[in-house]
Structures are given as C-alpha cells and as structure tokens.
C-alpha cells in the first residue's frame, strides 16, 4: 500500500528517473518512437527539481520579492 504520487510529486512506480533511464537506453537500443524523447536539458532540469526542488523553493520563497525584481531586471536587459 503506497500513495499514487510520491512525496517528490512524481508518479509512483514510474518516476522521472526511470523516464531518464529508458530515454538514455533509447539512444543505444531502438526502443520505439518517442518523438525526440525527453531531451537532455529538460530531463536534467526535471530530475533536479524532483529531487532538490523542495529544499530549493523553501529557501527561494523567502527572497521571492527580491528574486522577482531581479528576474524583471534580467528580462528587461535580455
């Protein structure tokens, strides 16, 4: 008996690490048409978020106002 969603907001029994692993395998073994697959950058971002998102956002939320200003500044200059 386990919940359907893990504490990392991932799918129980089909977590993102498995997605990453199978996509990696698809490079070496033709597993099927995944239509460009998960992609390296999005995969790494999502893996990082699933694993470290909770502590990261617990810290970032305290500086949300400053980060938002910084974000707007970067957006203006980019």
């Amino acid at each position: 008996m386990k919940p359907i969603r893990t504490s990392r907001y991932d799918i129980a029994g089909n977590g993102f690490f498995r997605v990453f692993r199978i996509n990696l395998m698809n490079i070496f073994v033709p597993l099927g048409n995944f239509k460009r697959g998960a992609g390296l950058k999005p995969s790494l971002v999502l893996l990082f978020l699933h694993w470290f998102g909770r502590p990261l956002f617990q810290v970032l939320i305290r500086y949300e106002r400053y980060l938002h200003k910084l974000y707007l500044k970067i957006k203006r200059h980019s």
Binding site: I4, I11, N14, V19, F34, G39, G53, R62
Partner: protein, 683 residues
C-alpha cells in the same frame, strides 16, 4: 496590529489557533489558500471554455477558432476592468457581464438565453475539477466552526459570490462558512483594502477580533493590517515547488511531444487528502492503464464525430470497462455533446461463432480462426466453437476421409498437410454447408432478434469498441448480419489489432487498432504483445461471458456461462484479484477527462509518452510489476484443452518467467527485447 508571514502551513495554523482563541471572526482567502489549483496558471482553465464556445459556435454555423474566442474574452474582460477603474480603486471584472458580452459578440442573432448558463456551468465544472481543498486548512475550518466562530471566504476574482458558493460547495467548504464574498459583486476588492470596511458593515463585525488569512502579501497582508485586522500570510514553498514542476511539464510539452503525456499524468496526480495509500494494483490501474484507456476512448469520440456515427456499441466483456470509462470522462472532454448514443452489446466469440455461419456456411477463415489457439487441434474443436452437432456431421467428414480426431493444426503431433487439404474440400462441399447452416439457424435467428430489439439495424453507421486482437467478434458479427439490407456500416475500434489472421476491410466493415495496429510499424506499441492477457483481464466485465443466443417464443434469450464450475470460480477469483486495478482505471478516467480537456491534447499528442510507458512497463518492467500485474488465471472458452508440441508453442515470454529469474538473470529483458524486435520486423 501585526502582519505575520509564514513559510509553512503548520506554523500558520499553529499561530492561527493561538490568535483564534481571542477572536470571533476568521476570514479566509479562497484561491491558493483554502483551495489549490492542480495547474500552475489559473488562465489555463479558460482555454477549454474557449474551445467549448468555439464548438458551440460551430454547431450554429459560426466559424470561430478557440484562440479567437479567448482573445475576444480577454479584450472584453480588460475593457470592463478599465471601465471599473474609472469609478473604483480596483480594476475588477464580473464574469456574467463580460462573458455575456463576449457571447453576444460571437453568436450575434444566434445568442439564446441558455447560452450564458451553459458556458458558465462548464467553466465552473472545469474550475471545480482543478481545485483541491487544502486538507489541513479544511480540518481547521471545521474545528473553528465547532467553536462557533464566524467564518467567511473573501476573494478578489471575476467570479461573483454566487459562483464561488458553487465551487466552495463542491469542495465541501460552504457548510462551514457564514458567507462567501467576491469582489466581482461590488468592485470593492481586498487589493485596495475597500472590501474589508464593506464586509465589516454588512456583517456587523468587529475588526479587533477578526483574523484574515490569505496568500497575497498586499491583499491579504498589508491591506487588512492597515484596516486594523490581524493578518496571517502564507508563503508556501511546497506549492511553489509543485507548481514549478507542472509548469515545466506543461511548457516542455509545447515543444517536445514526449512531455504532453507526462504533463497529463502530472495533472492527474492526486493532491492533498486525495493522495492516500492504495494497493499496488490500484496504482498500476491509475498510473499505467487508466491514462491509456482514457486516451483510447477520447480518440473514439473524435472518430465518431469525424465519421458522423449515430450509435456506438461497446462489446465483449472488455467493452464494459471501456463504456464505464467513456461515461466518466467524455462529458468533460466533449461538453457540447454531439456524440453518438452508446450501448453495451452482449456478444462473445463463442455466442457469435455459430450465428456467423447461418448464411455463408463455415468458411476457411472461420475454421482457421478456430484452429489458431494452440489448445485447438481437430474438427471437434471447430464443432465446439461453432456449436455444431458433430454426430450429424460425421458422414460428411467420412466422405472426405476425415474424422473428428484428425489433427488439423500444425502445432500438434499427428498433423499432416493432407488433412488441411481435405478440410478445404469439406468446406467446399455444398451438402456439408447446408447441414451447418441448418444447425446454426436457431442461434442466428435469436441474434437477429436481439440486434433488432436493441436497434442495431436502425442506424446507417455504427461504431463497435473492443480490446482487440484479431477482431474476431466484429468479424463474426458482420458475417452474421451482412446479408441483411439494413445492415449498418460497421466501424471497429480496438485497443490493439494484432491481425494474426488478416481482417478483410470492405465498404461496410472496417477495423482499426488505436493504441497498437500491426499494419503500422510501431515497435514501442508492439510491446503490448508481451502481456496481452493483462489488458484483457484488467478490462474484463464482472459478469460471466455470453455463451449462446437462444430462440424463445418471445424472441430471444441470452444464455450466460455458469459461475459455479471450476473455470467460473477461477474467473471470479481473478476478477476479485484485479478489482483494485479496475477501480484504479475508473478513478483515473475522471481525472483524465479534466486533465485532457485542460491540456487540449489528443491521442496522437500522448502517443510518444504512451510508447515510453508501454516499453518501460511491459518490455522493461520491474519484477514486482510483473508479479503484481500477471494474471492468476485466464479464462478463454475459445481455447481447447489439447497440449501442443513444445517447439510449436514458441519461446518463453518475459512475463512467463519466475520472479527469481526476472530479478537475477543478467540482461534478460534486453535479450528478450532484441528477440521481440526481430519478430516484429519479420512479421
């Protein structure tokens, strides 16, 4: 007065409880406080409504894209906000006002009184499907109610209080609060702080004993504090984390189709109090089979519209599950209706086999289908399947030097090609065919009576839905009715079409496999062949299989298989074992409807993700997944009891291995997958 910011819900509630002891009134913000949204951006909920309006307009002959509808809605809403800003501090909008204006602009003379109501109902339905009550806050709300505190919900939103009450009621909050207040009714919002004096006056409250709780530092923090109310502001890192994930899945899906299915499943995930421990099989039903069956049913809905079908029959026992999934998710996916009537059709291969011979006799294809399962060997198996009296057929067999025990299947010992040639000669014997037709005339008449009774012949085109694999049921059904002038055009939709015996499409009968079709080269989807029985058993109806159509004085009688024998009891046991799996599928269907409507994607968008899921779960499964999902017993009346030659049964499949082998044999999955690739390429 002080304004407190909290970074965890526990601490906020702890502080709130402390303050509430000396207060009479507690007001809560609704969105992102009492209720959280499954999606990161509330504006995404507007998109299915725009699609709905666009399709309603289409029915009235108005060609307007959903993007244009959305743009117009935004423009009119902004216009109203600008107008409100002239007389009020807050730039608020009111949904019924700007939506009516939007609809009048789109529909012009076609605008009717019920249109706004229809659209509003769907918008509220979509909103409530994406809203989840925060368990801890709701528990506290109930506790406060029991302490006779005066509780209010205050929200700055374009939905009037009347609509918010509907949402709060569906979330189980309405009974706990005294009233719900929305800025859309008065244009006095929390953002400017003008809502608070209004509420104080209207409900005769004392600001000294009033706490307000919300998530916005200005509207729910600064403004109430300026007014003299104690304010608690929640800044929830956990929610940011959750929304950061769904936002990325959603956005990646726009550029990479692979993530569309993953975004769907992320949206379907249960939140807060919904995420309770479930049996392993339930999890597989919800996370593995549910989304795939949902997308299968959604695609059938789209095909029905494209082809203009007026009736859709779900048949065989797997169709029962598909029908239930349809009922759960289709109203949300296709809110404008415009779908065929649906009905469950009681059919089975065994019941239809005999009737299929009533007009064309026993064909070589039918005989080959009967001899396909490895357990079937001789003419007695053919006679069993087609419900023929073997005793009366023996003279014909003898005439062609055959007996009921002559081995007709190359999978069995004693097979000789000459028997197959003699069987073909027998099938060309007109006297034999006349005898066959005579023997099966009664079940055929009963079938026709049944089909007439349920209105099968009243439609020009019908769809039939089944799990697969050869399309035998559809083939037999068509053979049984194709001689009739009023026979409708039959469109078959199956989950997987393996086409072991080619299905002959003609102008009045066609079949397509939606998740897997052997006619398309699809390596990932072909992994269904690893564990077909799992899909079959998982979707099986709880009632026993239909055995025969019996002719009666009243017309017909449906004779079902008994549950009391060993096979029936084994089947019951299997059904009980798979009950959590099926429950998972049904529960997933509800979430699928809302999530898919929100994303606006179809089966083709989800296909790359399903390819991954099928490959991961079937070709590269965890040992525990195989052990859990592997069926305990699989009943198939079509299969005989003969034992084929060991060599003829083919290689052992991954899902047949023992747990120890699955766990420890090196590269087992990879080796078997290479073999699978070779087989798929060769076939």
């Amino acid at each position: 007065m002080m304004r407190n910011t909290f970074y965890s819900l526990d601490k906020l509630i702890e502080r709130g409880k402390h303050l509430a002891a000396s207060c009479d009134t507690i007001s809560f913000d609704l969105f992102d406080t009492l209720l959280i949204r499954r999606i990161h951006d509330p504006d995404v909920v507007k998109l299915p409504v725009a699609r709905y309006i666009s399709s309603l307009a289409g029915h009235r002959g108005i060609n307007v894209s959903w993007q244009a509808v959305q743009k117009l809605r935004n423009q009119i809403e902004q216009q109203q906000r600008d107008e409100t800003g002239i007389n009020f501090d807050d730039h608020e909008a009111c949904y019924p006002v700007f939506m009516e204006k939007t609809l009048r602009e789109i529909f012009a003379q076609h605008y009717g009184d019920s249109l706004l109501e229809q659209v509003t109902d769907y918008e509220l339905e979509m909103e409530s499907r994406v809203l989840v009550p925060r368990r801890q806050l709701v528990d506290w709300l109930i506790e406060l109610k029991s302490q006779n505190k005066r509780l209010f919900i205050i929200s700055d939103i374009y939905l009037p209080a009347e609509h918010l009450r509907i949402l709060a009621n569906r979330a189980g909050l309405l009974d706990q609060v005294e009233d719900v207040i929305s800025s859309a009714d008065t244009f006095l919002a929390k953002a400017s702080g003008q809502a608070f004096p209004l509420i104080e006056k209207k409900f005769n409250l004392s600001k000294a004993s009033w706490i307000h709780i919300g998530d916005n530092p200005i509207s729910d923090g600064l403004r109430p504090t300026e007014f003299g109310i104690q304010a608690l502001v929640l800044k929830d890192g956990e929610e940011k984390f959750r929304k950061a994930l769904i936002k990325r899945y959603f956005n990646y899906g726009k550029g990479r189709p692979f993530y569309r299915g993953r975004a769907l499943q992320q949206l379907m995930l249960p939140l807060e109090g919904e995420n309770i421990p479930r049996p392993d099989l339930y999890r597989e039903g919800y996370n593995f089979l549910g989304p795939m069956i949902g997308a299968f049913v959604q695609h059938i809905g789209e095909e029905c519209r494209r082809l203009g079908l007026t009736k859709l029959f779900f048949f065989s026992r797997e169709g029962y599950t598909f029908k239930r999934v349809w009922e759960q998710c289709v109203p949300t996916l296709f809110p404008d209706g415009d779908l065929p009537e649906i009905e469950y059709l009681y059919v089975s291969r065994m019941a239809l086999a005999g009737a299929s011979c009533a007009h064309q006799g026993l064909t070589s294809i039918s005989a080959n289908i009967a001899l396909l399962p490895p357990g079937n060997k001789d003419f007695s198996d053919i006679a069993r399947i087609f419900q023929l009296d073997l005793r009366r057929l023996e003279p014909y067999l003898e005439r062609h030097k055959l007996s009921s025990a002559s081995c007709l299947s190359p999978l069995h010992q004693g097979y000789d090609q000459k028997y197959s040639v003699r069987l073909m000669e027998l099938l060309e014997d007109a006297a034999f065919q006349n005898e066959v037709k005579t023997q099966v005339s009664e079940p055929s008449e009963a079938l026709i009576a049944y089909l007439s009774d349920i209105g099968f012949f009243r439609h020009q085109q019908v769809g039939v839905v089944d799990i697969g694999w050869l399309g035998t049921i559809q083939r037999f059904l068509y053979d049984a009715v194709k001689h009739r002038n009023e026979c409708p055009r039959i469109h078959g939709f199956v989950f997987g079409a393996t086409r072991g015996i080619p299905f002959r499409d003609d102008l009045k009968n066609s079949l397509q496999g939606l998740i897997y079709d052997r006619q398309r080269f699809d390596l990932a989807a072909s992994t269904i062949l690893y564990a077909r029985d799992v899909f079959e058993e998982a979707c099986r109806a709880p009632h026993p299989t239909l055995e025969q159509y019996e002719r009666t004085a009243e017309g017909y009688h449906l004779k079902f298989r008994t549950k009391d024998d060993i096979t029936g009891m084994a089947e019951q046991k299997q059904d009980e074992y798979y009950a959590p799996l099926q429950q998972g599928i049904f529960d997933a269907a509800k979430s699928f409807g809302a999530a898919s409507a929100l994303l606006g994607y179809a089966l083709e968008d989800y296909r790359p993700w399903f390819h991954y899921v099928l490959t991961a779960k079937l070709a590269f499964p965890r040992t525990s997944e195989v052990v859990d999902m592997r069926h305990k017993s699989h009943l198939d009346d079509f299969h005989g009891t003969n034992t084929p030659l060991k060599m003829a049964t083919g290689n052992r499949q991954l899902w047949d291995y023992e747990p120890m082998a699955l766990r420890f044999l090196p590269f087992l999955r990879l080796r078997l997958f290479w073999r699978h690739i070779r087989e798929v390429i060769k076939s």
